[in-house]
C-alpha cells in the first residue's frame, strides 16, 4: 500500500481516524454550543442560533438593553507611555510663557505655597491628562476650570512639557520625613487596596499616575476624600475611587502625611 492509498475511504485507518475525530468534534460542539448554553436557566436565548452565537463569542449587543446614560462626563484622555515623550525646546518655551498665568497658585518655580499641587518636574502625561479633564469637565474645580476651559490641545501639551522640564525642588515647608505607613508599601490586600507605591513611585510607576513626594498634605487628603465620595471621577476605570472608598480615614491621613513629608528628590528615576 502506498501513500496514495492513504486518503481513501477504502483505508480502514483513514475511515476510523477521521471518523472518530469528526464524531468527537461534532459531539463536543453540540454539547458546547447548544446543550450547555441552554443548561443555564438564568440566560435567555431567542433560539438555537442565538445560543450558538453566544457560545461562539460573536460580538453582539442585546437590543433590549440600552447603555445607561452618563450623568456626568467621564475622562476621555488616552495615555500611552509615549504620550509627550521627547518634547522640543520650542514647546517648552511656549509652555513657560503660558505658565505665567498658573504661577499665582502653582508658584513661579512650579512649587506651590497655596496647597495647590507642585508641578515642577511632574510627569508630563499627568499634567496633560488633568488639563484635558478640567477642560472637558470630567474634573471640576472652581478656580482651575475657568483657566483650563479655553486652552487648546497645543497649549495643554506645551504646558505639560514645560512643567515636566522644570527641576524638582524641595517643597516649601517640608516636615521631618515620616516612616512608610503600611498603606503605602503593602496596601491592604484584604480590602483589595494595592500599595500606593505600586503606581505612584517608590515601588513602581504607572503611566498617568503622578509622583506625590512633597505635595501638599491638605490637597492630597482632600483629593482622596473627593475620590471616596465620588465627587471627583476622572480616574480611569474608577481606579482611585475604588481604592479611596476602601481606605479608612486614618489611612488617608497617614498616606497624605507620609507623602507630604518626603522630599521630591527621592522620586524614583524612571524617566
Amino acid at each position: 500500500m502506498s501513500t496514495r492509498d492513504l486518503f481513501t475511504l477504502r483505508n480502514s485507518h483513514f475511515r476510523t481516524g477521521v471518523g472518530i475525530t469528526a464524531a468527537i468534534l461534532v459531539v463536543t460542539a453540540i454539547a458546547g454550543f447548544i446543550v450547555l448554553p441552554f443548561a443555564q436557566p438564568w440566560v435567555q436565548f431567542a433560539g438555537v442560533w442565538d445560543a450558538i452565537c453566544s457560545a461562539a463569542g460573536v460580538p453582539q449587543r442585546a437590543a433590549s438593553v440600552t447603555a445607561p446614560e452618563q450623568a456626568k462626563r467621564l475622562s476621555e484622555v488616552v495615555l500611552t507611555s509615549n504620550t509627550l515623550s521627547r518634547p522640543s525646546q520650542e514647546a517648552i518655551g511656549r509652555g513657560a510663557t503660558l505658565a505665567q498665568r498658573c504661577a499665582i497658585c502653582h508658584g513661579p518655580t512650579g512649587v506651590s505655597r497655596a496647597d495647590s499641587p507642585n508641578l515642577a518636574g511632574q510627569y508630563a502625561a499627568v499634567i496633560y491628562k488633568e488639563l484635558h479633564d478640567f477642560r472637558s469637565g470630567a474634573r471640576t474645580n472652581a478656580v482651575m476650570s475657568p483657566f483650563a476651559v479655553n486652552l487648546t490641545d497645543q497649549e495643554i501639551a506645551d504646558l505639560s512639557n514645560y512643567y515636566a522640564y522644570l527641576p524638582r525642588l524641595p517643597a516649601y515647608h517640608p516636615t521631618p520625613q515620616l516612616p512608610k505607613p503600611n498603606i503605602v508599601i503593602y496596601g491592604a490586600p484584604m480590602r483589595g487596596i494595592a500599595p500606593c507605591g505600586a503606581c505612584h513611585g517608590s515601588l513602581d510607576n504607572k503611566t498617568g499616575s503622578p509622583w506625590l513626594e512633597g505635595q501638599s498634605e491638605a490637597y492630597m487628603k482632600a483629593q482622596l476624600h473627593a475620590f471616596a465620595s465620588g465627587e471627583r471621577r476622572n480616574d480611569i476605570s474608577q481606579q482611585m475611587r475604588n481604592i479611596a472608598r476602601a481606605m479608612t480615614p486614618q489611612e488617608i491621613e497617614q498616606a497624605a502625611a507620609y507623602y507630604a513629608s518626603q522630599p521630591p528628590d527621592v522620586v524614583k528615576a524612571v524617566d
Partner: protein
C-alpha cells in the same frame, strides 16, 4: 552508527550550559520570594530573572535537547549518515545567535516581559527577534528530520520506519505546527509594536495565538521523554517493548490531539466564547489517552524485563527489576511525577475546577512537576545513555548518577508539592515578593520555605549532572559499540501505511486547529476596537 558526534555533543552541551544558568536563576527566585530571603528592593530584577529563566527553560533548553536527540536517532535508528550536516550546523548557530540576541535585552532590563510575552507589555525588539531566530533554527531541524526519513524511505521502500525515528519525526512536525501560533503573534503583532511601527496591540488575540503554541509545546518537550520510555528504557533494563503498534498509536494521538486544546489556558479570558472553551476542555481530556496508553505499555514492557530476570507472582516481579540501573530509577521517578502532575493537569483542564487555581502558584507548581520533573529527569537519562557513544568514554560513577537522580526527584517533590498547596490557598503567581508578616498569608510561610529548600536541592542535583557529564569527557576510552534501541516483543515486519507515515495525522492536526481556532482568531482579527495601547518596559 553515530557519525556526527560533534554536532550532537554541541547541541547537548549548549542545552545543559544554558540549563545550568537558568536553574541557578530559578533557585534564586525561589529564595528571594520566600520568607528566608529579604525583600527585593527592586521587583524589576525578579521579572528580569524570571524572563531569562522562562525563555531558556521554555524555548532554548528543550529545543536543543530534542534536536540533539533527534540527530542521534536519525543516525542510529536509520543506520544512515545525517543528510544536511551543514544545515544542521546553521540551525545550531542560529540558536546560538538568537539566544545571545535575546539575552542581552533581558540582562539590561529592557525585556522583562516573561517568556509568555504578555502583551500589551512590550520589551525591546531584539528580545523577540532572538526568540524568532531560535525558532527558525529549530525549524531547520524539523526539515532535516523529514528529509532524512525521506532519504531512508527511498532506500528502504515499504519497510517499517524504526519506532524511534517515527516518533522523532512526529515530534518535529508537532513542533513545526505548534510554533506557528507564537510566530504569528510575534511577527504580526508584537514585533511591529516593539519596532515602533504601531502603538496599539490586540492583547486578546495575542493570547489566543500564544495558547496555540503554549499547550502543544509541552508535548514537544515531552516527546524525547516518551521516545526514551519506549525505545531506550526496555533495552537498558533488559526487556522488550510490549507493543510496537501501541507506541505508534500513542505518538500519533499526541500529534492529533495536543494541538487543538490550548484555550484551556484562557478559561478566564473574556474574548473567547464559552463553546470553544468547552471543546478545548474536552479535547484536553483526550490528551490523557496517549499518556495512559504509554503508562500501560511501559509497565508491561518493564514487567517483561522483570520476568526475564526471574521475577514471579502478581507483584513479586517488581522486586526483580534492576533498581540499581539509573535508567530504571529515572523511569520510576519520572512515572511518579507524571502521575501527580497528570492528576493536577486534569484539574487545570476542567472548566470549573480551574477557577479555583487559575493564575495561582498551583499552576507554576504543576508545570515544574511535569516538565522539570517527569520530562527533564528523562533528559538526564537520555544524556547518560548516549554519552559513552558520543564521547567514546565510559561514565564510571554510577553511584553519583544514582544520587543525582535521587536528588532531582526529592528536590522536585519538595519544591512542587508545597507549591501546589499554597496555590490552593490562593497565593497568586508572578509575584516578586510577599509580606509573610501579614496574618492573612503568614501560614503559607512554611510551605514557601520548604519550596525554596527544594529549589536548592534541585540546584545541587543540576550541578552534579553537569559535573558527571564533564568528567565523562575525560574518562578512560572505551568502545561503547553501536547505539541500539529497544526491540519489540513482536518486531514489526510490515506496518500499515497509516502507522508508518505521518500525512494523515498531520492533516487531522491541521484540520482540528482550523475548527478549534479558526473562528476565535478570525473574530478577533476582524473586529475593530479590540486593541489597547502598548505598555513599554522601562518607560514611565
Amino acid at each position: 552508527m553515530l557519525v556526527n558526534r560533534k554536532l550532537i555533543l554541541a547541541h547537548f552541551w549548549l542545552a545543559f550550559a544554558v540549563f545550568g544558568v537558568a536553574l541557578t536563576l530559578g533557585a534564586w527566585q525561589m529564595f528571594i520570594r520566600s520568607p528566608i530571603g529579604t525583600w527585593l528592593s527592586n521587583p524589576e530584577l525578579y521579572y528580569r530573572s524570571l524572563t531569562a529563566h522562562g525563555t531558556v527553560m521554555g524555548y532554548v533548553f528543550p529545543t536543543l535537547v530534542a534536536m540533539a536527540f533527534g540527530y542521534a536517532i536519525s543516525e542510529s535508528a536509520l543506520q544512515q549518515r545525517l543528510v544536511g550536516v551543514r544545515w544542521a550546523w546553521a540551525g545550531f548557530w542560529l540558536i546560538v545567535a538568537g539566544s545571545i540576541m535575546a539575552v542581552i535585552p533581558i540582562a539590561l532590563g529592557r525585556a522583562s516581559v516573561l517568556y509568555t510575552f504578555y502583551p500589551p507589555l512590550i520589551g525591546n525588539v531584539f528580545y523577540y527577534l532572538g526568540v524568532v531566530l531560535v525558532v527558525v533554527g529549530s525549524w531547520i531541524w524539523v526539515a532535516l528530520m523529514s528529509v532524512n526519513l525521506r532519504v531512508w524511505r527511498k532506500a528502504n521502500p515499504g519497510a517499517p520506519v524504526p519506532l524511534a525515528m517515527f516518533a522523532n519525526v512526529a515530534g518535529s512536525y508537532l513542533w513545526a505546527w505548534t510554533a506557528v501560533g507564537a510566530a504569528l503573534e510575534l511577527l504580526l503583532q508584537i514585533i511591529p509594536v516593539a519596532a515602533g511601527l504601531k502603538a496599539t496591540i490586540d492583547a486578546g488575540l495575542a493570547r489566543i495565538f500564544f495558547s496555540w503554541t503554549l499547550h502543544a509545546i509541552v508535548y514537544f518537550w515531552l516527546m524525547p521523554t516518551y521516545i526514551a520510555y519506549y525505545t531506550i528504557v526496555p533495552r537498558a533494563i533488559g526487556g522488550r517493548v510490549y507493543s510496537d503498534s501501541m507506541a505508534r498509536i500513542a505518538f500519533i494521538l499526541f500529534l492529533v490531539v495536543s494541538m487543538p486544546i490550548g484555550m484551556h489556558h484562557t478559561f478566564a479570558d473574556p474574548q473567547v466564547g464559552a463553546g470553544f472553551k468547552f471543546i478545548h476542555s474536552a479535547f484536553t481530556a483526550l490528551v490523557a489517552l496517549p499518556t495512559l496508553l504509554t503508562v500501560f505499555t511501559i509497565c508491561a514492557s518493564v514487567e517483561i524485563a522483570a520476568r526475564l530476570r526471574g521475577g514471579r507472582g502478581m507483584f513479586g516481579w517488581i522486586g526483580a527489576l534492576p533498581w540499581d540501573n539509573p535508567m530504571m530509577l529515572a523511569l520510576a521517578f519520572s512515572f511518579v511525577m507524571l502521575g501527580f502532575g497528570g492528576a493536577g493537569g486534569l484539574i487545570n483542564m476542567s472548566y470549573q475546577l480551574d477557577a479555583s487555581i487559575h493564575n495561582t502558584q498551583w499552576i507554576t507548581g504543576h508545570f515544574h512537576l511535569i516538565f522539570g520533573g517527569a520530562i527533564v529527569i528523562m533528559y538526564f537519562a537520555i544524556a547518560y545513555d548516549l554519552w559513552p557513544h558520543l564521547t567514546g568514554r565510559e561514565l564510571i560513577d554510577i553511584r553519583l548518577i544514582r544520587t543525582q537522580l535521587w536528588l532531582w526527584f526529592i528536590g522536585m517533590i519538595v519544591t512542587t508539592f508545597p507549591w501546589h498547596w499554597v496555590g490552593i490557598l490562593g497565593m497568586p503567581r508572578r509575584m516578586a515578593y510577599f509580606d509573610f508578616g501579614d496574618p492573612a498569608i503568614a501560614p503559607q510561610a512554611l510551605s514557601v520555605t520548604l519550596s525554596a529548600i527544594g529549589g536548592f536541592i534541585l540546584l545541587a542535583s543540576g550541578i552534579m549532572f553537569i559535573v558527571i557529564l564533564a568528567r565523562g569527557m575525560r574518562a578512560p576510552q572505551i568502545d561503547a559499540g553501536p547505539y541500539r534501541f529497544a526491540l519489540a516483543v513482536h518486531q514489526p515486519t510490515t506496518v500499515p501505511v497509516a502507522l508508518n507515515t505521518h500525512a494523515l495525522w498531520v492533516a487531522l492536526m491541521i484540520g482540528l486547529t482550523l475548527t478549534n481556532y479558526g473562528y476565535p482568531i478570525l473574530n478577533l482579527a476582524l473586529s475593530s476596537g479590540t486593541s489597547v495601547p502598548a505598555v513599554y518596559v522601562g518607560a514611565q
